[in-house]
């Protein structure tokens, strides 16, 4: 397995508050990695360092190394838009553009100067298991889709750019169990082509889909390893308590 995404001695602080402490972690190609941990432990913050979403906040200070294969993600000579094209993201709450379904997919392609015809859009929608449900309503506003469909549209929008990595920030937390299962099935399917890092609060979800699990606590990585090992034989007491549901 090749390492796709990695950090080395990553520290991040917002103003004077240190949120990530000395994070060294790596994610393999074509694997699903789950970031778990109690609220406020920094897992979403870590996820968002990979596509440089913290660039928006002037008081976020990052040091350490982040790499996509051999590429330095914070290299000043590389446009941030290029990084975000190669590392896509799906958010906690589905956030389709207030445009048509077709435009939601085509927009990212257009601004990245990629071909954006009906075939490309169809392919992305098929990959997100959404095509059959929307093929007759491509001109419909995306906001009229159900929550689960909107989230799959957001996945299709990310997939359309052919990224190498897809970051997912609790993509199912606002969805019902049926939509959740559908998305999990989709995520499992997507790992054949992409590397996926997913933040989740749902222990069962992590066990169902993740190859690797990383447990974070108070801005640090407490334990990481193969999902089966983490859940069956946690080495750290905090990890054991958390996965048993003794705190959250």
């Amino acid at each position: 397995m090749r390492t796709k995404l990695s950090t080395e001695s990553l520290n991040l602080s917002f103003g004077t508050k240190q949120v990530l402490k000395n994070i060294t972690v790596s994610f393999n190609e074509h694997e699903i990695a789950a970031l778990i941990g109690p609220s406020g432990c920094g897992k979403s913050t870590l996820l968002r360092t990979f596509n440089r979403m913290h660039d928006l906040f002037p008081d976020a200070h990052i040091d350490g190394r982040l790499k996509l294969e051999e590429l330095d993600l914070y290299d000043k000579t590389i446009p941030v838009t290029e990084i975000r094209k190669r590392i896509g993201m799906v958010f906690q709450k589905a956030n389709p553009f207030p445009k048509s379904i077709y435009e939601n997919i085509a927009y990212g392609l257009r601004i990245n100067n990629l071909p954006h015809n009906k075939d490309v859009v169809e392919k992305a929608l098929r990959e997100a298991f959404l095509w059959e449900e929307v093929k007759d309503d491509l001109k419909m506003p995306a906001t009229r889709l159900s929550g689960g469909q909107q989230q799959r549209l957001c996945i299709a929008r990310a997939v359309a750019l052919r990224p190498e990595v897809i970051l997912m920030d609790e993509p199912c937390s606002a969805l019902d169990p049926v939509s959740t299962l559908k998305i999990e099935e989709l995520i499992t399917h997507l790992k054949e082509k992409y590397t996926i890092v997913i933040v989740t609060h749902n222990m069962q979800q992590a066990q169902r889909i993740a190859d690797k699990t990383v447990f974070m606590y108070l801005g640090e990585i407490k334990e990481e390893g193969a999902t089966q090992d983490i859940f069956n034989f946690p080495k750290n007491e905090v990890t054991a308590n958390y996965i048993k549901g003794q705190f959250g």
Binding site: R84, N95, F97, P98, L161
Partner: protein
């Protein structure tokens, strides 16, 4: 202990609110009735499209209608681009520090400045210092200045309402900050922006004080519509017919007709704003 029965309390609470509502509606209806009943007989396409003649005792109101339309267009051309751009800068780019907070507070204060002050400022700046003379241009720019704070404030409010998740969505597919604003943020905020713009312009169209010294004329008996020339405007025409004309009784019907046309113009503009808001709500759900 004795309690008032809840029923009486609730009737009093509910009754006070209902009474206030009725009172407001009553005055509104009286004003509308007064204008409509006395102005309706004058209202016709002919009235709107004929120029005033015989010292304004006969004819229609075409000259002031043209003046108001052109005036509002100049106001719009000046205040919309600058106002909207300023709001976008303040909301999307400017850092939140004491300077921008001061600027924002000043803009809000400006929208509370009485319009006559804008009139005097316009007289000093556009008419005299920049030597535009009393003209359509000077009056339009003065009204533009008056409209700027409203347009900036309403546009900023529309932009603030766009959730950050929308901006992140665009950034995450590789859009630059400008593309995010141009393609996602502003289009989503458009109904709110348009509502603010239309309401502001309809208010500007009805203003008298700012154009009083900057270009509105008592009576013009020749072709008008030149940027460097004086003009007639509906609100000023109405003011003048009701209080300044030498034969006030004779022109009273024309004054009511003018008032009715002005009310209809403002009503139509507000209707457009309501339509935008309706469309906005529909898109939201």
């Amino acid at each position: 202990m004795r309690y008032r029965t809840p029923k009486i309390t609730s009737v009093i609470e509910w009754g006070t609110l209902l009474l206030s509502t009725c009172l407001v509606c009553f005055f509104l209806l009286v004003v509308l009735w007064e204008i409509i009943s006395k102005g309706a007989s004058k209202l016709s396409w002919e009235f709107v499209f004929t120029v005033p003649t015989d010292g304004m005792t006969k004819g229609g109101i075409f000259t002031p209608v043209v003046g108001t339309v052109l005036l509002t267009m100049i106001t719009a051309l000046f205040s919309i681009p600058f106002g909207v751009s300023c709001a976008i800068y303040l909301n999307e780019y400017a850092e939140n520090n004491w300077l921008t907070r001061t600027i924002r507070a000043s803009i809000r204060n400006l929208s509370g400045v009485p319009s006559i002050i804008y009139g005097l400022f316009g007289l000093a700046l556009f008419v005299q210092a920049l030597q535009f003379g009393t003209s359509l241009m000077a009056a339009g720019l003065t009204l533009g200045l008056l409209s700027l704070p409203y347009i900036i404030t309403t546009t900023e409010e529309a932009l603030v309402r766009i959730p950050n998740s929308m901006r992140e969505a665009a950034l995450a597919v590789g859009a630059t900050k400008f593309e995010t604003i141009k393609d996602v943020v502003v289009p989503s905020a458009m109904p709110g922006i348009l509502t603010g713009v239309v309401l502001t312009l309809s208010r500007a169209a009805g203003e008298t004080a700012p154009i009083l010294f900057t270009g509105a004329a008592f009576y013009i008996n020749r072709s008008t519509g030149y940027l460097n020339d004086e003009f007639m405007a509906l609100p000023y025409h109405l003011y003048m017919l009701s209080t300044q004309h030498q034969s006030i009784e004779e022109v009273r019907p024309i004054a009511y007709g003018t008032a009715l046309v002005l009310v209809i113009v403002v009503f139509l503009m507000n209707l457009t704003a309501f339509y935008f808001r309706y469309k906005y709500r529909k898109n939201e759900n």
